[in-house]
């Protein structure tokens, strides 16, 4: 039989990190610090089992029929009400229900990007967003969130949208300051460029109250601003429901709805009805304190173990929320792509920085998750990571490689 026609070009540009992570799942006793997985013990199993049965029995049309493409009206209304403030008036027309937060990213790419279009993206950027947009063939313009006064309108002009994770960015775990949020909103209003506020970790503040969302800073009654806000139940309730949402100007919601129709027609009615009842019964509010105290303790445990074992090898900031610590190697010869693979041999898995770089070039940092594992596993994972780091460094020195920046320029 002749060989089949070639796959679409973008498939040549994907990395194999997911395959590596999946293979890691087969390693016995591996400490998985790579993903962004929640602690299953936090799921309110009995409450959700009851809601699931009630969703089907009391709302069969909603749970079992085709929901509207844009979502169950009651769920859209509930989300509009949750996010409305005095200065931000949201209605159903501002809300689209998505199949997890990932689908929101994918649909934004679908409605805005033609090949070669520019995304002004917080860099390093969420791996999943890069995956979602790759099939549309975009180019990236990096935007640093830490700098004090870069010319944001200059960076944004000509882009289709700006992408940010202001609360505990994936991968860096950093919080974007209020001043910076204000500057981003102002630049979006000045240029007309859409501003994507991806906020899966917005409830996971461990040390202080939440900063205002860019959506709030933008405001509007009714809302019609440039901020496209993405939320999800994955971190606050349970990822298996696959319920996320987009809040945006009605014209953007309409375009995203057209795109969603051709993506999956609609999100699981069963999951949507359960989500709706979880909001009605206050279930999310009930489980949040336990989530925060458990994750805060694990963040502290990870950072204590890192201070003990990794201080000579990496530098990092203790994150005030989210799910990750971002650690940068002190020695440029510590190639973190090699470290990921060496880590697997030592029984630990972390995410290398290259997968968060649209250009794939940053090979000097790792993202470490602290939500999935208990404190003793976190400590053991850190010890293994330290051993793996020394092994990589040792081999690099033995090979006489000089990968300092100066040496790389001279090569």
């Amino acid at each position: 039989m002749p060989s089949p026609p070639p796959f679409a070009r973008w498939l040549d540009e994907t990395n194999d990190v997911t395959q590596v992570f999946l293979a890691a799942g087969q390693v016995p006793d591996l400490v998985n610090l790579a993903g962004g997985l929640p602690e299953p013990a936090l799921w309110p199993v009995d409450a959700l089992a009851d809601l699931a049965a009630r969703a089907v029995r009391e709302h069969p049309k909603e749970a079992l029929g085709y929901p509207p493409i844009d979502g169950l009206p009651a769920l859209r209304d509930a989300i509009a009400a949750r996010f409305s403030t005095v200065d931000l008036r949201l209605g159903r027309e501002n809300v689209l229900i998505t199949t997890g937060g990932m689908q929101g990213l994918e649909l934004i790419g679908k409605v805005l990007l033609d090949e070669g279009d520019v995304i002004a993206a917080q860099t390093p950027a969420y791996l999943g967003a890069l995956d979602a947009w790759r099939p549309r063939g975009p180019r990236y313009r990096p935007v640093r969130m830490e700098e004090e006064a870069p010319d944001l309108p200059y960076l944004m002009r000509g882009a289709k949208f700006t992408y940010t994770v202001p609360n505990f960015s994936n991968p860096t775990g950093r919080l974007v300051s209020v001043a910076r949020r204000q500057a981003l909103v102002k630049a979006a209003q000045e240029t007309g460029v859409w501003l994507v506020e991806d906020d899966p970790y917005g409830a996971l503040y461990y040390d202080c109250g939440p900063l205002p969302r860019m959506l709030d800073l933008c405001g509007g009654a009714p809302y019609a601003g440039p901020v496209i806000y993405l939320g999800t139940l994955s971190k606050e309730l349970a990822p298996g429901l696959r319920v996320g949402w987009v809040i945006a100007a009605p014209e953007m919601i309409a375009a995203l709805t057209t795109a969603k129709q051709g993506s999956d027609m609609c999100t699981s009615g069963l999951s949507q009805q359960v989500a709706c009842m979880a909001f009605e019964t206050g279930l999310c509010e009930q489980v949040l304190p336990d989530i925060l105290s458990l994750y805060r303790a694990r963040r502290d445990a990870l950072c204590a173990a890192m201070a003990e074992h990794l201080d000579a090898l990496f530098e990092w900031e203790v994150p005030t929320g989210g799910m990750f610590v971002w650690a940068r190697a002190r020695d440029a010869r510590l190639d973190t792509d090699l470290l990921m693979r060496e880590g697997l041999a030592h029984g630990v898995c972390v995410s290398p920085s290259s997968v968060f770089d649209p250009e794939g070039r940053d090979r000097a940092a790792v993202r470490i998750n602290f939500t999935l594992n208990p404190p003793d596993s976190l400590a053991e994972g850190v010890r293994r990571l330290a051993a793996a780091s020394r092994a990589v460094l040792g081999r690099s020195q033995a090979a006489g490689q000089d990968r300092s920046p100066q040496a790389m320029i001279e090569q």
Copy 2:
């Protein structure tokens, strides 16, 4: 504020038929013959409510955690087992779980199509497939399924894939013959071009037993053939679950999985676990006889009413399964785009042929659904459609329009 950047180009090419259908939902007492909706009374509500509760309580990891991108292993195994035969040996690596059948179509477009690539498509074609592929910018090469001996390898060569709905095609309701299925499989094997067998109506045979699937005709142990088979629980159990599947060669499943990761990461674990238990408990087999007898009676009721009221205006074949009758106007002046709108004024909604034509040019047929409405509503809808057709024809004649083919060429 400056206007936002333009949307991606494909959004300019969508039709407004969905908006028209949605608006139709607001018309009081409208008889909706347009969609492809099931009869809600057929859903096994109590059984599904129990399964939903058990799914969460007994399988919290599967129902509430992130399922693997390609689906819950037990569900993939169940589908592999259901579709395996002596000559077709399927394993988990041949199966991907999708968020409804629609996502299977979307992912196939994503992994195979670059802009301008060719799809050899059964024409007229399912509206949803055209929607799914529009963002990838394909071109279409029409393939008629009724002709006896066209040169299929010639039509398929150079295409990325061939698209067919062999069982009760949407929109025409026609069955592709076994000889034609064999010819399609042979041509796919000869050319290497993928052959998409979209089969949402495969269980809905009302007058005879099912014909062999092209997947079966292709065979293989283990399976690695060119047929990409799409199935769904939407017609046989409940669409709100949004559980569909793709059966294909392992290399295709791997590519589709990469694409799915960037689309929605994974399908609702809750829905997948319910689907898995529905297979285990034989629920689909239990409900099928009631589905078949109800839909058979409604098909008969619709066709009887059509014979009484529409015979002078349209011609059609009585379908032996599926959800639709495809009726072609006897008078070319009966523009079915106008008829759809006139129908709304008369309290009936049907789907015009233009939306099933990749070029949007066929304006002489309508698709009429018979599964959603009871017999008396079907008859009333048909009477209204007859009245609306005479109104459109009357206006066309009054305006002295001559839309015969010869006149159109001369215009």
